[in-house]
């Protein structure tokens, strides 16, 4: 009897292995929705030489996914950030409203130098746009920051145990390396640039000589019941210069993110397995 039992166990074990190795793998996309509250100061010398300080609210959507089931060393990443708020000049005689959008797409290489540490290094191409409105400047109330950058982009994740929970401490950073940006002359009006089409010397090559900055986020990832959350701080500092104008932006924010993983099947060759149920049938 004992002999038969061993035979059956061995055969079942073989089946179990076969099941594991032949199982179809699907890539998950890891995404997060982040809300933040920012304290911002910025200088836009086209509108005013003074530093405007204020606050704003931001929203980020990030998603990351490995290139393929076979290649789990490289992942692609995209990010959409929105930021809106208002700043005041030091004597509080004028306010400047702003609304910014940043979209980035990049790839990162995954390393695991230590058992609890994972590092991702890569590049991120982004488009940065910020609309600024200073109503008091009747003839030049608006300026926009517009640029596209290739950024060095990296992150580190360290596993820690706190309060009997497995948490992750994540640090991500990006810094512009080269790109192109829109900076008008301080004396050139938008009427002349866009009404008359004079765009001479308003688009500039940017690199570390005239654009420098760091955008960093330090977040703690906490599992909470069946959900996953991140809380932390973000800090962005950016300085860029062209046409004798020096622009600055500093942004310190507190952030809360909800993290989730999802898989996509619609529109793909590989159909969802039967145990995945979609309402879009």
């Amino acid at each position: 009897m004992k002999k038969y039992f061993i035979y059956i166990f061995t055969i079942l074990s073989a089946f179990a292995t076969a099941q594991t190795t032949n199982e179809q793998k699907y890539l998950l996309t890891s995404a997060s929705n982040t809300l933040g509250y920012s304290i911002i100061d910025f200088v836009d010398p086209y509108l005013s030489p003074l530093t405007y300080s204020g606050s704003g609210v931001g929203y980020d959507f990030q998603s990351q996914r490995f290139l393929s089931v076979e290649n789990t060393r490289i992942s692609k990443f995209q990010k959409l950030s929105l930021l809106a708020g208002k700043g005041f000049n030091p004597p509080h005689t004028a306010s400047m409203s702003f609304f910014g959008v940043n979209y980035g797409w990049g790839m990162r290489y995954h390393l695991k130098p230590m058992s609890k540490l994972r590092v991702q290094l890569g590049g991120l191409w982004d488009i940065d746009f910020m609309f600024k409105y200073l109503a008091r400047n009747v003839n030049n109330p608006v300026n926009v920051d517009l640029g596209t950058n290739l950024n060095a982009f990296g992150s580190a994740t360290y596993d820690i145990s706190l309060f009997r929970k497995e948490m992750k401490l994540k640090l991500d950073m990006k810094s512009p390396i080269l790109g192109c940006m829109f900076v008008p002359y301080s004396g050139a009006s938008y009427y002349e640039m866009f009404g008359l089409g004079n765009l001479d010397n308003v688009f500039h090559f940017s690199s570390l000589h005239n654009k420098r900055g760091l955008d960093a986020n330090l977040m703690l990832e906490i599992p909470l019941r069946r959900s996953l959350w991140r809380v932390g701080l973000g800090y962005e500092t950016m300085k860029w210069s062209a046409n004798d104008l020096v622009f600055k932006r500093n942004n310190l924010s507190i952030k809360v993110a909800s993290v989730f993983d999802f898989a996509t099947f619609a529109g793909r060759k590989k159909r969802a397995p039967n145990n995945f149920i979609s309402p879009n049938e």
Binding site: R136, N139, G187, A188, R212, D244
Partner: protein, 334 residues
């Protein structure tokens, strides 16, 4: 590895020097004076054209600046300094006052009386209003008359078409832009385009590209296109006075090149520099001419544009309910 890290750190430490930030003066009377003086010194576009020795003005006014002066006194002093520029586009704005230079029209005859315009002889009581355009037939229906008091009051092609349709049996048209102190250059261009058969270079514009008084960009052509919806082919007379300023000056400059247009009245008030704004440390805003505009012969229009026919409002006519300038325009159309 350590060596390379040090080199990278050294390079990053050097990089800030590549972006030298401008000096921000302290928020004191002297700091605000220096800041205001420097904004004009580096950004105002007519210092050389008007032969203003701005360094001498710095010396003269610096001696008058005291830290003990209250805001009102200091504001008046700074307003007087800006008055040296003799420019209607230069203002200093605070919470309690706005400095201005108005001698570009107060030193000259008004050549305009709104009561005459509204009398039964001209607009009357039942004139039409299409957005910013007030219009009526005058001279027993033989001439169309449009009064445009501001280029800030919007209008569109449909409004102009309505007026032109109403004037279809008139021999010509009068556009009165007296006492119109400006507004949007887009409206000025839009209205002028109705009197062109084809696109034409009607002026030029430059802007400052450096802090020097003569650091200007190349002149850019300013064109007036032919309007796609309306191309008025009959005689048009534009009435001007010294209060025809800024965007109105631009309109008159364009109309100088229109094929069937005559400018009648007084010289315009000028205001040929497109204004921009900046701030000083105490939060006061300063507006100043930044981009000089020129006529089609590259001549400055900052001091105004001469009419084709110089006519003044006669006090005798005025007393008899007659606008001398409109009457002259009617005769020119006939």
């Amino acid at each position: 590895m350590k060596k390379y890290s040090l080199i990278i750190l050294f390079v990053f430490a050097l990089l800030p020097s590549c972006m030298e930030e401008p000096i921000v003066e302290p928020n004191t009377n002297m700091g605000n004076f220096e800041s205001l003086w420097r904004i004009i010194d580096t950004k105002y576009c007519y210092l050389d054209y008007k032969k203003i020795n701005w360094d001498s003005i710095h010396t003269a006014y610096k001696a008058k600046v005291t830290e003990s002066a209250d805001d009102l006194t200091f504001f008046d002093l700074m307003g007087t300094m800006l008055g040296e520029l003799k420019d209607g586009h230069v203002n200093l704005y605070s919470d309690f006052d706005r400095s201005r230079y108005w001698k570009w029209y107060t030193d000259y005859p008004a050549n305009f009386n709104i009561d005459l315009i509204r009398s039964a002889r001209y607009l009357g009581e039942n004139y039409k209003i299409a957005n910013g355009l007030s219009y009526e037939k005058i001279d027993n229906g033989r001439v169309g008359y449009i009064y445009l008091g501001s280029f800030s009051n919007g209008f569109n092609d449909a409004n102009i078409v309505s007026a032109m349709t109403y004037f279809k049996d008139c021999k010509g048209l009068i556009i009165d832009v007296r006492d119109n102190s400006g507004g949007s250059l887009d409206y000025s261009k839009q209205l002028a385009s109705c009197f062109f058969k084809e696109e034409k270079v009607t002026g030029y514009i430059k802007h400052k590209i450096g802090n020097g008084h003569t650091d200007f960009s190349k002149a850019l052509e300013v064109k007036t296109p032919a309007n796609k919806n309306i191309q008025y082919q009959r005689q048009v007379v534009v009435l001007t006075n010294r209060m025809s300023f800024s965007a109105t000056n631009d309109f008159v400059n364009r109309m100088k090149q229109a094929p069937n247009a005559l400018i009648v009245g007084d010289k315009t008030g000028g205001g040929g520099g497109l204004p921009l704004s900046s701030e000083i440390p105490n939060g006061w805003l300063v507006r100043f001419s930044s981009s000089p505009m020129y006529d089609s012969n590259m001549q400055e229009i900052e001091w105004g544009i001469n009419p084709d026919v110089l006519v003044s409002l006669s006090p005798f006519d005025q007393a008899n309910g007659i606008d001398t300038i409109i009457e002259r325009a009617i005769k020119l159309i006939k």
